[in-house]
Symmetry: C2
């Protein structure tokens, strides 16, 4: 068992305004999937892209929009988001505080 | 894309003092893993057990202990927990408010 505060995981600057922490992953022996925590600064966005693997997300704090192929949907603390494989998507911080998201992906990406 | 507040998912009484919500799962088309949110009442515990699949957890609120094969570790809001396959474990609410945890498991259990 590994137990730790997510801030104890080293942050990686994913792109300007977006920081990623891999809180559980292959280095911990996880066989199937990987849990990351993203901090998106106000006005910033995760990359607008698609890929063959899915996302399962949960909003820890802040507010913004999830942008999918059918438009924008508002998101805020305690929202869960499923992004299907190959679906184009991004997450934009439209608030005044950090938009913090858990994002789980398969390890076979 | 599916977007929704976790409270919009129907709760299931897992056992006395423990409620589960499957916020993303096979019904959403998720191919690999399943995200659940557990509410553990003060003084209650998740089942003490082991199984061949792993857990990846994140504490949303409350405080308690993660009990593993090497003893107890305190957990609180913003802690991430990895439980390896076949490791005996449970999570006990030792606080005065609900212990709320995200728990991700593979769908091939």
């Amino acid at each position: 068992m590994k137990v730790g505060h997510y801030l104890d995981t080293e942050p990686v600057q994913e792109l300007p305004g977006v920081v990623k922490r891999v809180v559980i992953g292959a280095d911990d022996g996880a066989p199937n999937f990987c849990m990351r925590v993203f901090d998106v600064e106000p006005g910033s966005s995760t990359p607008s892209h698609s890929h063959p693997w899915e996302h399962e997300l949960f909003v820890l704090s802040g507010r913004g929009v999830a942008v999918g192929e059918k438009g924008e949907t508002e998101i805020a603390k305690d929202y869960a988001i499923y992004v299907a494989p190959n679906e184009h998507h991004c997450f934009v911080n439209k608030g005044n505080e950090v938009l913090r998201l858990i994002c789980v992906i398969p390890l076979t990406t």
